[in-house]
Protein backbone atom coordinates (compact mmCIF):
# COMPACT_ATOMS: atom_id res chain seq x y z
CA UNK A 1 0.00 0.00 0.00
CA UNK A 2 2.89 2.35 0.83
CA UNK A 3 4.46 1.59 -2.55
CA UNK A 4 1.16 2.23 -4.33
CA UNK A 5 0.61 5.48 -2.45
CA UNK A 6 4.09 6.72 -3.28
CA UNK A 7 3.45 5.97 -6.96
CA UNK A 8 0.18 7.90 -6.80
CA UNK A 9 1.85 10.84 -5.04
CA UNK A 10 4.34 10.95 -7.88
CA UNK A 11 1.50 11.24 -10.40
CA UNK A 12 0.11 14.22 -8.47
CA UNK A 13 2.94 16.40 -9.75
CA UNK A 14 1.90 15.72 -13.33
CA UNK A 15 -1.66 16.97 -12.94
CA UNK A 16 -2.43 19.87 -15.26
CA UNK A 17 -4.74 21.34 -12.65
CA UNK A 18 -1.94 21.37 -10.06
CA UNK A 19 0.10 23.84 -12.11
CA UNK A 20 -2.87 26.16 -12.59
CA UNK A 21 -3.78 25.82 -8.92
CA UNK A 22 -0.31 26.76 -7.77
CA UNK A 23 -0.29 29.81 -10.03
CA UNK A 24 -3.71 30.85 -8.69
CA UNK A 25 -2.59 30.33 -5.10
CA UNK A 26 0.49 32.47 -5.66
CA UNK A 27 -1.41 35.30 -7.33
CA UNK A 28 -4.37 35.26 -4.98
CA UNK A 29 -2.62 36.45 -1.77
CA UNK A 30 -0.65 39.06 -3.68
CA UNK A 31 -3.83 40.55 -5.15
CA UNK A 32 -5.68 40.49 -1.84
CA UNK A 33 -2.81 41.78 0.27
CA UNK A 34 -2.55 44.94 -1.76
CA UNK A 35 -6.17 45.36 -2.90
CA UNK A 36 -7.44 48.91 -2.14
CA UNK A 37 -11.01 47.87 -1.21
CA UNK A 38 -10.33 45.46 1.67
CA UNK A 39 -11.87 47.74 4.32
CA UNK A 40 -15.08 48.17 2.31
CA UNK A 41 -15.49 44.38 2.01
CA UNK A 42 -14.19 43.04 5.32
CA UNK A 43 -14.27 46.10 7.59
CA UNK A 44 -10.62 46.26 8.59
CA UNK A 45 -7.28 47.46 7.33
CA UNK A 46 -4.32 45.16 6.93
CA UNK A 47 -1.80 46.19 9.52
CA UNK A 48 0.01 42.88 10.07
CA UNK A 49 1.49 40.22 7.78
CA UNK A 50 -0.60 37.65 9.71
CA UNK A 51 -3.78 39.09 8.26
CA UNK A 52 -2.79 38.16 4.72
CA UNK A 53 -3.04 34.36 5.24
CA UNK A 54 -6.35 34.98 7.01
CA UNK A 55 -7.66 37.00 4.10
CA UNK A 56 -6.44 34.41 1.61
CA UNK A 57 -8.36 31.73 3.46
CA UNK A 58 -11.50 33.83 3.91
CA UNK A 59 -11.69 34.69 0.25
CA UNK A 60 -10.67 31.33 -1.23
CA UNK A 61 -12.74 28.97 0.91
CA UNK A 62 -15.91 30.32 -0.64
CA UNK A 63 -15.21 29.00 -4.13
CA UNK A 64 -11.59 28.81 -5.27
CA UNK A 65 -10.32 26.08 -2.93
CA UNK A 66 -13.34 23.77 -3.32
CA UNK A 67 -12.99 24.21 -7.09
CA UNK A 68 -9.27 23.46 -7.11
CA UNK A 69 -9.70 20.45 -4.84
CA UNK A 70 -12.62 19.05 -6.85
CA UNK A 71 -10.79 19.42 -10.16
CA UNK A 72 -7.52 17.94 -8.87
CA UNK A 73 -9.21 14.92 -7.27
CA UNK A 74 -11.21 14.27 -10.41
CA UNK A 75 -8.02 14.54 -12.42
CA UNK A 76 -6.27 12.02 -10.17
CA UNK A 77 -8.46 9.35 -11.69
CA UNK A 78 -9.13 11.23 -14.93
CA UNK A 79 -5.40 11.22 -15.69
CA UNK A 80 -5.53 7.44 -15.98
CA UNK A 81 -8.64 7.60 -18.14
CA UNK A 82 -7.14 10.25 -20.42
CA UNK A 83 -3.90 8.32 -20.93
CA UNK A 84 -5.71 4.98 -21.16
CA UNK A 85 -3.47 3.59 -18.42
CA UNK A 86 -6.24 2.44 -16.10
CA UNK A 87 -6.61 -1.08 -17.59
CA UNK A 88 -2.82 -1.43 -17.78
CA UNK A 89 -2.47 -0.68 -14.08
CA UNK A 90 -5.39 -2.92 -13.12
CA UNK A 91 -3.79 -5.85 -14.95
CA UNK A 92 -0.97 -5.89 -12.43
CA UNK A 93 -1.35 -7.94 -9.25
CA UNK A 94 -2.96 -5.09 -7.35
CA UNK A 95 -6.57 -5.24 -6.24
CA UNK A 96 -8.89 -2.51 -7.46
CA UNK A 97 -9.61 -1.49 -3.86
CA UNK A 98 -5.93 -1.15 -3.01
CA UNK A 99 -5.33 0.99 -6.06
CA UNK A 100 -8.31 3.27 -5.47
CA UNK A 101 -7.52 3.55 -1.76
CA UNK A 102 -4.05 4.77 -2.72
CA UNK A 103 -5.72 7.46 -4.84
CA UNK A 104 -8.10 8.27 -1.99
CA UNK A 105 -5.16 8.69 0.39
CA UNK A 106 -3.61 11.19 -2.01
CA UNK A 107 -6.97 12.96 -2.32
CA UNK A 108 -7.18 13.21 1.48
CA UNK A 109 -3.69 14.64 1.86
CA UNK A 110 -3.93 16.98 -1.12
CA UNK A 111 -5.98 19.71 0.69
CA UNK A 112 -3.37 19.80 3.47
CA UNK A 113 -0.53 20.21 0.97
CA UNK A 114 -2.39 22.87 -0.97
CA UNK A 115 -3.33 24.87 2.14
CA UNK A 116 0.21 24.61 3.49
CA UNK A 117 1.38 26.11 0.19
CA UNK A 118 -1.22 28.90 0.40
CA UNK A 119 -0.24 29.59 4.00
CA UNK A 120 3.45 29.93 3.18
CA UNK A 121 2.83 32.08 0.08
CA UNK A 122 0.45 34.31 2.05
CA UNK A 123 2.90 34.73 4.90
CA UNK A 124 5.66 35.67 2.49
CA UNK A 125 3.31 38.06 0.71
CA UNK A 126 2.54 39.80 4.01
CA UNK A 127 6.19 40.49 4.77
CA UNK A 128 5.84 44.19 3.97
CA UNK A 129 3.28 44.62 6.77
CA UNK A 130 5.59 43.06 9.37
CA UNK A 131 4.64 40.31 11.82
CA UNK A 132 3.97 42.18 15.02
CA UNK A 133 0.98 42.15 17.42
CA UNK A 134 -2.10 43.98 16.19
CA UNK A 135 -5.72 44.89 16.94
CA UNK A 136 -8.72 44.99 14.66
CA UNK A 137 -9.30 41.36 13.67
CA UNK A 138 -7.38 38.70 11.83
CA UNK A 139 -10.18 37.66 9.58
CA UNK A 140 -10.31 34.12 11.00
CA UNK A 141 -11.91 32.92 14.21
CA UNK A 142 -15.44 33.73 15.29
CA UNK A 143 -16.44 37.14 13.96
CA UNK A 144 -13.06 37.54 12.35
CA UNK A 145 -11.82 38.22 15.90
CA UNK A 146 -12.89 41.83 15.45
CA UNK A 147 -13.14 43.66 18.75
CA UNK A 148 -11.07 41.02 20.58
CA UNK A 149 -8.41 43.55 21.48
CA UNK A 150 -4.72 43.09 20.86
CA UNK A 151 -3.71 39.82 19.23
CA UNK A 152 -0.09 38.83 19.84
CA UNK A 153 2.07 37.52 17.00
CA UNK A 154 2.11 34.06 18.59
CA UNK A 155 -1.66 34.12 19.11
CA UNK A 156 -2.26 35.12 15.50
CA UNK A 157 0.01 32.36 14.22
CA UNK A 158 -1.76 29.75 16.37
CA UNK A 159 -5.15 31.01 15.21
CA UNK A 160 -4.05 30.80 11.57
CA UNK A 161 -2.62 27.32 12.03
CA UNK A 162 -5.85 26.10 13.55
CA UNK A 163 -7.93 27.75 10.81
CA UNK A 164 -5.83 26.34 7.99
CA UNK A 165 -5.89 22.87 9.54
CA UNK A 166 -9.67 22.96 9.92
CA UNK A 167 -10.09 24.30 6.39
CA UNK A 168 -8.04 21.40 5.04
CA UNK A 169 -10.06 18.89 7.06
CA UNK A 170 -13.35 20.36 5.84
CA UNK A 171 -12.17 20.07 2.21
CA UNK A 172 -11.53 16.31 2.49
CA UNK A 173 -15.16 15.30 1.79
CA UNK A 174 -15.16 17.50 -1.33
CA UNK A 175 -12.03 15.78 -2.53
CA UNK A 176 -13.60 12.37 -1.98
CA UNK A 177 -16.93 13.42 -3.47
CA UNK A 178 -15.09 14.36 -6.62
CA UNK A 179 -13.43 10.92 -6.73
CA UNK A 180 -16.85 9.31 -6.27
CA UNK A 181 -18.39 11.26 -9.15
CA UNK A 182 -15.38 10.51 -11.37
CA UNK A 183 -15.80 6.80 -10.62
CA UNK A 184 -19.48 7.08 -11.52
CA UNK A 185 -18.99 9.02 -14.76
CA UNK A 186 -15.51 7.68 -15.61
CA UNK A 187 -14.67 11.18 -16.73
CA UNK A 188 -12.66 13.88 -14.94
CA UNK A 189 -14.67 16.85 -16.22
CA UNK A 190 -17.92 15.09 -15.35
CA UNK A 191 -16.64 14.30 -11.86
CA UNK A 192 -15.50 17.84 -11.12
CA UNK A 193 -18.62 19.46 -12.57
CA UNK A 194 -20.97 17.13 -10.69
CA UNK A 195 -19.13 17.93 -7.44
CA UNK A 196 -19.43 21.67 -7.97
CA UNK A 197 -23.06 21.37 -9.05
CA UNK A 198 -23.85 19.44 -5.88
CA UNK A 199 -22.03 21.97 -3.69
CA UNK A 200 -23.89 24.87 -5.29
CA UNK A 201 -27.19 23.02 -4.89
CA UNK A 202 -26.39 22.32 -1.23
CA UNK A 203 -25.72 25.98 -0.62
CA UNK A 204 -29.26 26.69 -1.78
CA UNK A 205 -30.60 24.28 0.83
CA UNK A 206 -30.01 26.85 3.56
CA UNK A 207 -33.64 27.73 2.94
CA UNK A 208 -34.32 24.66 5.10
CA UNK A 209 -32.86 25.84 8.43
CA UNK A 210 -33.22 22.38 9.98
CA UNK A 211 -30.92 20.88 7.36
CA UNK A 212 -28.31 23.60 7.32
CA UNK A 213 -26.10 22.41 10.23
CA UNK A 214 -25.67 19.02 8.56
CA UNK A 215 -24.90 20.15 5.02
CA UNK A 216 -21.47 19.47 3.57
CA UNK A 217 -21.17 23.13 2.55
CA UNK A 218 -21.86 24.27 6.13
CA UNK A 219 -18.82 22.28 7.30
CA UNK A 220 -16.65 24.41 5.02
CA UNK A 221 -17.06 27.22 7.55
CA UNK A 222 -15.50 25.12 10.32
CA UNK A 223 -12.30 27.15 10.13
CA UNK A 224 -14.02 30.19 11.61
CA UNK A 225 -15.98 28.27 14.26
CA UNK A 226 -14.89 28.34 17.91
CA UNK A 227 -12.85 25.26 18.73
CA UNK A 228 -15.35 24.05 21.33
CA UNK A 229 -18.08 23.64 18.69
CA UNK A 230 -16.09 21.38 16.37
CA UNK A 231 -17.14 17.97 17.75
CA UNK A 232 -20.22 17.60 15.55
CA UNK A 233 -18.36 19.17 12.63
CA UNK A 234 -15.59 16.58 12.85
CA UNK A 235 -18.15 13.78 13.13
CA UNK A 236 -20.06 15.01 10.08
CA UNK A 237 -16.90 15.48 8.02
CA UNK A 238 -15.76 11.96 8.95
CA UNK A 239 -19.18 10.58 8.06
CA UNK A 240 -19.29 12.31 4.68
CA UNK A 241 -15.72 11.26 3.92
CA UNK A 242 -16.39 7.64 4.89
CA UNK A 243 -19.57 7.46 2.80
CA UNK A 244 -17.91 8.97 -0.28
CA UNK A 245 -14.77 6.81 0.01
CA UNK A 246 -16.67 3.58 0.64
CA UNK A 247 -19.11 4.27 -2.21
CA UNK A 248 -16.22 4.97 -4.57
CA UNK A 249 -14.50 1.69 -3.70
CA UNK A 250 -17.71 -0.35 -3.95
CA UNK A 251 -18.61 1.14 -7.35
CA UNK A 252 -15.06 0.87 -8.65
CA UNK A 253 -14.92 -2.81 -7.70
CA UNK A 254 -17.91 -3.47 -9.98
CA UNK A 255 -16.87 -1.42 -13.00
CA UNK A 256 -16.13 -2.95 -16.38
CA UNK A 257 -12.99 -1.69 -18.10
Amino acid sequence: MFKLSSIEFGKLFHLTSLRFSLIALILFPILWAYAPGIFQVYGFFIVSGYQVPALSLLSSMEFLLPLIIAVASAELLGLELAHGTLPTVLLRPVTRSQWLLAKILVAILYPFALLAFLFVVSLVTGVFYGYGSFAGGTGVGAGGLLGQGILSAGGALAELGRAYMMAAVSLIPISLLSILFTVIFMNAAGGALATLALLISMKLLIVFPGLEPYLLTTQLNAYVAPIGNLGITFALIALYAAIFAASSVILFERKDF
Partner: protein
Protein backbone atom coordinates in the same frame (compact mmCIF):
# COMPACT_ATOMS: atom_id res chain seq x y z
CA UNK B 1 -1.74 -30.26 -16.79
CA UNK B 2 -3.53 -27.08 -15.61
CA UNK B 3 -5.05 -25.17 -18.48
CA UNK B 4 -3.55 -21.71 -18.73
CA UNK B 5 -6.80 -20.12 -19.93
CA UNK B 6 -10.26 -21.61 -19.93
CA UNK B 7 -13.53 -19.89 -20.68
CA UNK B 8 -16.87 -21.64 -20.29
CA UNK B 9 -19.99 -20.27 -21.98
CA UNK B 10 -18.68 -16.75 -21.51
CA UNK B 11 -21.29 -14.07 -22.19
CA UNK B 12 -21.33 -10.32 -21.78
CA UNK B 13 -24.30 -8.05 -22.18
CA UNK B 14 -24.21 -4.24 -22.27
CA UNK B 15 -27.79 -3.06 -21.83
CA UNK B 16 -29.87 -5.00 -24.32
CA UNK B 17 -26.97 -5.88 -26.58
CA UNK B 18 -25.17 -9.14 -26.02
CA UNK B 19 -21.64 -8.44 -27.24
CA UNK B 20 -20.23 -11.84 -26.32
CA UNK B 21 -22.37 -14.94 -26.34
CA UNK B 22 -21.47 -18.40 -25.03
CA UNK B 23 -17.77 -18.31 -25.87
CA UNK B 24 -15.81 -21.36 -24.70
CA UNK B 25 -12.18 -22.14 -25.48
CA UNK B 26 -9.06 -23.49 -23.84
CA UNK B 27 -5.42 -22.56 -24.11
CA UNK B 28 -2.72 -24.87 -22.77
CA UNK B 29 0.76 -23.77 -21.69
CA UNK B 30 2.99 -23.44 -24.74
CA UNK B 31 0.06 -22.83 -27.10
CA UNK B 32 -0.72 -19.68 -29.07
CA UNK B 33 -4.43 -19.11 -29.50
CA UNK B 34 -5.48 -16.33 -31.87
CA UNK B 35 -8.90 -14.73 -31.91
CA UNK B 36 -9.74 -13.39 -35.33
CA UNK B 37 -12.86 -11.75 -36.63
CA UNK B 38 -14.14 -8.49 -38.07
CA UNK B 39 -14.22 -5.29 -36.01
CA UNK B 40 -17.01 -5.46 -33.46
CA UNK B 41 -16.98 -9.26 -33.36
CA UNK B 42 -16.33 -9.20 -29.60
CA UNK B 43 -12.61 -10.10 -29.54
CA UNK B 44 -11.61 -7.19 -27.30
CA UNK B 45 -14.49 -7.87 -24.91
CA UNK B 46 -13.43 -11.51 -24.63
CA UNK B 47 -9.88 -10.39 -23.85
CA UNK B 48 -11.14 -7.96 -21.21
CA UNK B 49 -13.29 -10.68 -19.68
CA UNK B 50 -10.40 -13.14 -19.62
CA UNK B 51 -8.01 -10.65 -18.00
CA UNK B 52 -10.61 -9.76 -15.37
CA UNK B 53 -11.05 -6.16 -16.49
CA UNK B 54 -14.72 -6.78 -17.25
CA UNK B 55 -17.23 -9.00 -15.49
CA UNK B 56 -19.04 -11.71 -17.44
CA UNK B 57 -22.83 -11.63 -17.44
CA UNK B 58 -22.78 -15.43 -17.66
CA UNK B 59 -20.12 -18.08 -17.80
CA UNK B 60 -16.74 -18.56 -16.23
CA UNK B 61 -13.15 -17.55 -16.82
CA UNK B 62 -10.13 -19.22 -15.34
CA UNK B 63 -6.49 -18.19 -15.52
CA UNK B 64 -4.08 -20.89 -14.40
CA UNK B 65 -7.07 -22.57 -12.76
CA UNK B 66 -8.16 -19.47 -10.82
CA UNK B 67 -10.88 -16.89 -11.35
CA UNK B 68 -9.10 -13.54 -11.97
CA UNK B 69 -11.93 -11.67 -10.24
CA UNK B 70 -11.86 -13.75 -7.09
CA UNK B 71 -8.08 -14.18 -7.01
CA UNK B 72 -6.55 -11.01 -8.50
CA UNK B 73 -3.09 -12.17 -7.43
CA UNK B 74 -3.19 -14.73 -10.26
CA UNK B 75 -2.21 -11.73 -12.39
CA UNK B 76 1.33 -12.17 -11.10
CA UNK B 77 1.51 -14.86 -13.78
CA UNK B 78 -0.07 -12.65 -16.43
CA UNK B 79 1.44 -10.24 -18.94
CA UNK B 80 -1.10 -8.34 -20.96
CA UNK B 81 -1.67 -5.50 -23.38
CA UNK B 82 -5.34 -4.64 -23.69
CA UNK B 83 -5.14 -1.20 -25.25
CA UNK B 84 -4.33 -0.68 -28.90
CA UNK B 85 -2.05 1.23 -29.02
CA UNK B 86 -0.59 0.31 -25.65
CA UNK B 87 -1.11 3.06 -23.08
CA UNK B 88 1.68 4.68 -21.09
CA UNK B 89 2.25 7.79 -19.01
CA UNK B 90 3.42 10.26 -21.68
CA UNK B 91 5.48 12.32 -19.24
CA UNK B 92 7.66 9.32 -18.37
CA UNK B 93 10.35 7.77 -20.55
CA UNK B 94 10.02 4.23 -21.87
CA UNK B 95 12.31 2.92 -19.16
CA UNK B 96 10.53 4.90 -16.40
CA UNK B 97 7.20 3.49 -17.54
CA UNK B 98 8.62 -0.03 -17.30
CA UNK B 99 10.08 0.78 -13.87
CA UNK B 100 6.61 1.82 -12.74
CA UNK B 101 5.18 -1.43 -14.13
CA UNK B 102 7.95 -3.30 -12.33
CA UNK B 103 6.94 -1.70 -9.02
CA UNK B 104 3.29 -2.57 -9.56
CA UNK B 105 4.25 -6.11 -10.46
CA UNK B 106 6.01 -6.48 -7.13
CA UNK B 107 9.56 -5.90 -8.27
CA UNK B 108 11.58 -6.70 -11.38
CA UNK B 109 15.35 -6.35 -11.67
CA UNK B 110 16.80 -3.42 -13.67
CA UNK B 111 18.62 -6.03 -15.77
CA UNK B 112 15.29 -7.55 -16.83
CA UNK B 113 14.01 -4.09 -17.82
CA UNK B 114 17.13 -3.60 -19.95
CA UNK B 115 16.64 -7.07 -21.42
CA UNK B 116 13.02 -6.50 -22.54
CA UNK B 117 13.89 -3.07 -23.93
CA UNK B 118 16.67 -4.66 -25.98
CA UNK B 119 14.40 -7.52 -27.01
CA UNK B 120 11.85 -5.07 -28.42
CA UNK B 121 14.47 -2.86 -30.08
CA UNK B 122 13.88 0.08 -27.78
CA UNK B 123 17.28 0.45 -26.13
CA UNK B 124 18.05 3.69 -27.91
CA UNK B 125 14.64 5.17 -27.16
CA UNK B 126 14.48 4.09 -23.52
CA UNK B 127 15.24 7.58 -22.18
CA UNK B 128 12.78 9.31 -24.50
CA UNK B 129 9.38 10.29 -23.12
CA UNK B 130 6.68 7.95 -24.42
CA UNK B 131 4.53 10.95 -25.33
CA UNK B 132 6.69 11.31 -28.46
CA UNK B 133 6.88 7.58 -29.26
CA UNK B 134 5.45 6.48 -32.58
CA UNK B 135 2.50 4.10 -32.64
CA UNK B 136 4.76 1.16 -33.41
CA UNK B 137 7.18 2.06 -30.60
CA UNK B 138 4.33 2.23 -28.11
CA UNK B 139 3.10 -1.15 -29.26
CA UNK B 140 6.58 -2.61 -28.85
CA UNK B 141 6.87 -1.05 -25.41
CA UNK B 142 3.50 -2.61 -24.60
CA UNK B 143 4.85 -6.05 -25.46
CA UNK B 144 8.00 -5.27 -23.44
CA UNK B 145 5.82 -4.38 -20.44
CA UNK B 146 3.85 -7.58 -20.86
CA UNK B 147 7.06 -9.64 -21.02
CA UNK B 148 8.57 -7.90 -17.99
CA UNK B 149 7.75 -10.58 -15.42
CA UNK B 150 8.38 -13.60 -17.70
CA UNK B 151 4.65 -14.37 -17.51
CA UNK B 152 3.11 -17.81 -17.77
CA UNK B 153 0.14 -16.32 -19.60
CA UNK B 154 0.38 -13.60 -22.23
CA UNK B 155 -2.78 -11.86 -23.41
CA UNK B 156 -2.57 -9.23 -26.10
CA UNK B 157 -5.25 -7.30 -27.91
CA UNK B 158 -4.06 -6.51 -31.43
CA UNK B 159 -0.42 -6.29 -30.36
CA UNK B 160 0.81 -5.51 -33.85
CA UNK B 161 -1.70 -2.91 -35.00
CA UNK B 162 -0.12 0.09 -36.68
CA UNK B 163 3.29 -1.57 -36.96
CA UNK B 164 5.71 -1.60 -39.85
CA UNK B 165 6.51 -5.08 -41.28
CA UNK B 166 9.81 -5.43 -39.37
CA UNK B 167 8.26 -4.51 -36.01
CA UNK B 168 5.35 -6.81 -36.80
CA UNK B 169 7.75 -9.68 -37.40
CA UNK B 170 9.64 -8.82 -34.20
CA UNK B 171 6.48 -8.88 -32.06
CA UNK B 172 5.30 -12.16 -33.51
CA UNK B 173 8.69 -13.82 -33.07
CA UNK B 174 8.82 -12.65 -29.44
CA UNK B 175 5.39 -14.19 -28.83
CA UNK B 176 6.41 -17.36 -30.63
CA UNK B 177 9.54 -17.67 -28.46
CA UNK B 178 7.52 -17.05 -25.32
CA UNK B 179 5.23 -19.92 -26.31
CA UNK B 180 8.24 -22.17 -27.01
CA UNK B 181 9.43 -21.42 -23.47
CA UNK B 182 6.08 -22.60 -22.15
CA UNK B 183 3.93 -19.47 -21.94
CA UNK B 184 0.31 -19.65 -23.07
CA UNK B 185 -0.46 -16.84 -25.50
CA UNK B 186 -3.90 -15.46 -26.29
CA UNK B 187 -4.04 -12.69 -28.84
CA UNK B 188 -6.55 -10.97 -31.03
CA UNK B 189 -5.32 -9.95 -34.44
CA UNK B 190 -6.16 -9.16 -38.03
CA UNK B 191 -2.82 -10.47 -39.32
CA UNK B 192 -3.96 -13.83 -40.64
CA UNK B 193 -0.68 -14.73 -42.36
CA UNK B 194 1.29 -14.44 -39.12
CA UNK B 195 -1.40 -16.40 -37.32
CA UNK B 196 -1.01 -19.33 -39.72
CA UNK B 197 2.78 -19.17 -39.38
CA UNK B 198 2.96 -19.89 -35.66
CA UNK B 199 -0.38 -20.09 -33.84
CA UNK B 200 -1.57 -23.40 -32.42
CA UNK B 201 -5.27 -22.65 -32.78
CA UNK B 202 -7.50 -19.96 -34.18
CA UNK B 203 -10.90 -18.97 -32.91
CA UNK B 204 -13.06 -17.18 -35.46
CA UNK B 205 -15.50 -14.74 -33.91
CA UNK B 206 -18.51 -13.11 -35.48
CA UNK B 207 -21.22 -11.05 -33.78
CA UNK B 208 -20.07 -12.06 -30.31
CA UNK B 209 -20.01 -15.80 -31.00
CA UNK B 210 -17.10 -18.13 -31.52
CA UNK B 211 -18.28 -19.57 -34.82
CA UNK B 212 -15.33 -21.86 -35.45
CA UNK B 213 -12.07 -23.09 -34.00
CA UNK B 214 -9.29 -24.31 -36.26
CA UNK B 215 -6.45 -26.49 -35.03
CA UNK B 216 -3.68 -24.86 -37.04
CA UNK B 217 -0.98 -27.07 -35.50
CA UNK B 218 -2.73 -30.18 -36.83
CA UNK B 219 -3.22 -28.55 -40.23
CA UNK B 220 0.52 -27.96 -40.51
CA UNK B 221 0.97 -31.75 -40.56
CA UNK B 222 -1.19 -32.15 -43.67
CA UNK B 223 0.09 -33.06 -47.11
CA UNK B 224 -1.60 -32.81 -50.46
CA UNK B 225 -1.01 -34.85 -53.60
CA UNK B 226 -2.44 -33.99 -56.99
CA UNK B 227 -3.32 -37.35 -58.48
CA UNK B 228 -4.92 -38.81 -61.61
CA UNK B 229 -7.79 -40.34 -59.59
CA UNK B 230 -8.43 -38.75 -56.22
CA UNK B 231 -11.33 -41.03 -55.17
CA UNK B 232 -9.38 -44.21 -55.87
CA UNK B 233 -6.28 -42.79 -54.17
CA UNK B 234 -8.34 -42.04 -51.07
CA UNK B 235 -9.70 -45.58 -51.00
CA UNK B 236 -6.19 -47.03 -51.28
CA UNK B 237 -4.57 -44.76 -48.71
CA UNK B 238 -7.36 -45.19 -46.17
CA UNK B 239 -6.09 -48.68 -45.26
CA UNK B 240 -2.36 -47.92 -45.13
CA UNK B 241 -0.75 -48.08 -41.70
CA UNK B 242 1.32 -44.92 -42.26
CA UNK B 243 -1.81 -42.82 -42.93
CA UNK B 244 -3.61 -41.17 -40.03
CA UNK B 245 -6.38 -39.40 -41.95
CA UNK B 246 -7.22 -39.00 -45.61
CA UNK B 247 -9.74 -37.09 -47.70
CA UNK B 248 -10.16 -35.50 -51.11
CA UNK B 249 -10.36 -31.96 -52.37
CA UNK B 250 -10.97 -31.72 -56.12
CA UNK B 251 -8.13 -33.51 -57.94
CA UNK B 252 -6.19 -33.73 -54.73
CA UNK B 253 -5.94 -36.30 -52.04
CA UNK B 254 -5.21 -34.70 -48.66
CA UNK B 255 -3.71 -36.74 -45.85
CA UNK B 256 -1.81 -36.76 -42.58
CA UNK B 257 0.93 -39.24 -41.79
CA UNK B 258 1.86 -41.21 -38.71
CA UNK B 259 5.44 -40.06 -39.40
CA UNK B 260 6.81 -37.45 -41.87
CA UNK B 261 9.32 -39.98 -43.27
CA UNK B 262 6.38 -42.00 -44.60
CA UNK B 263 5.79 -39.47 -47.39
CA UNK B 264 7.75 -41.57 -49.90
CA UNK B 265 5.56 -44.55 -48.99
CA UNK B 266 2.53 -42.63 -50.22
CA UNK B 267 4.06 -42.10 -53.66
CA UNK B 268 5.20 -45.70 -54.06
CA UNK B 269 1.88 -47.03 -52.80
CA UNK B 270 -0.10 -44.96 -55.31
CA UNK B 271 2.28 -45.70 -58.20
CA UNK B 272 1.90 -49.42 -57.56
CA UNK B 273 -1.84 -49.00 -58.04
CA UNK B 274 -1.28 -47.12 -61.34
CA UNK B 275 -2.29 -43.77 -59.92
CA UNK B 276 -0.13 -40.95 -61.27
CA UNK B 277 1.15 -38.48 -58.70
CA UNK B 278 1.28 -35.12 -60.51
CA UNK B 279 2.34 -33.03 -57.51
CA UNK B 280 3.10 -33.46 -53.83
CA UNK B 281 3.74 -31.10 -50.95
CA UNK B 282 2.53 -29.66 -47.67
CA UNK B 283 -1.12 -28.67 -47.69
CA UNK B 284 -0.66 -25.00 -46.85
CA UNK B 285 -3.73 -23.87 -45.02
CA UNK B 286 -5.35 -20.82 -46.53
CA UNK B 287 -6.76 -19.22 -43.41
CA UNK B 288 -7.75 -16.09 -45.29
CA UNK B 289 -9.99 -18.03 -47.67
CA UNK B 290 -11.33 -20.20 -44.86
CA UNK B 291 -12.03 -17.12 -42.73
CA UNK B 292 -13.80 -15.37 -45.59
CA UNK B 293 -15.88 -18.46 -46.23
CA UNK B 294 -16.91 -18.68 -42.60
CA UNK B 295 -17.79 -15.02 -42.35
CA UNK B 296 -19.59 -14.80 -45.67
CA UNK B 297 -21.96 -17.51 -44.55
CA UNK B 298 -20.60 -19.94 -47.10
CA UNK B 299 -20.45 -22.52 -44.35
CA UNK B 300 -21.26 -25.54 -46.43
CA UNK B 301 -18.06 -25.11 -48.44
CA UNK B 302 -16.05 -24.44 -45.34
CA UNK B 303 -17.42 -27.53 -43.64
CA UNK B 304 -16.63 -29.59 -46.70
CA UNK B 305 -13.07 -28.31 -46.59
CA UNK B 306 -12.88 -29.07 -42.92
CA UNK B 307 -14.31 -32.55 -43.46
CA UNK B 308 -11.70 -33.33 -46.10
CA UNK B 309 -9.43 -34.60 -43.40
CA UNK B 310 -11.88 -34.75 -40.57
Amino acid sequence: MTLAIETTELSKRYGKKEVVSGVSFKVKPGEVYALVGPNGAGKTTVIRLVTGLAFPTKGKVSLMGLDPHEKPMVRRKLGAVVEAPAAFYPYLSGRENLQLHAKLAGGVSPERITEVLEMMGLSEAQAVKTGVYSLGMRQRLGVAAAMLTKPEVLILDEPASGMDPLSLHLVHSVLQNAAKEGAAVLLSTHHLDEVVAYCSSVGIMEEGRLIDEVDIAARRERYRAKVSDAIKAQQILRYQEFIKQVGTRGDNVVFTLTHPYALSNVVSCLMKQNINVLGLGPDIFNLRAYYQDRLSGNRADAKADSAAVG
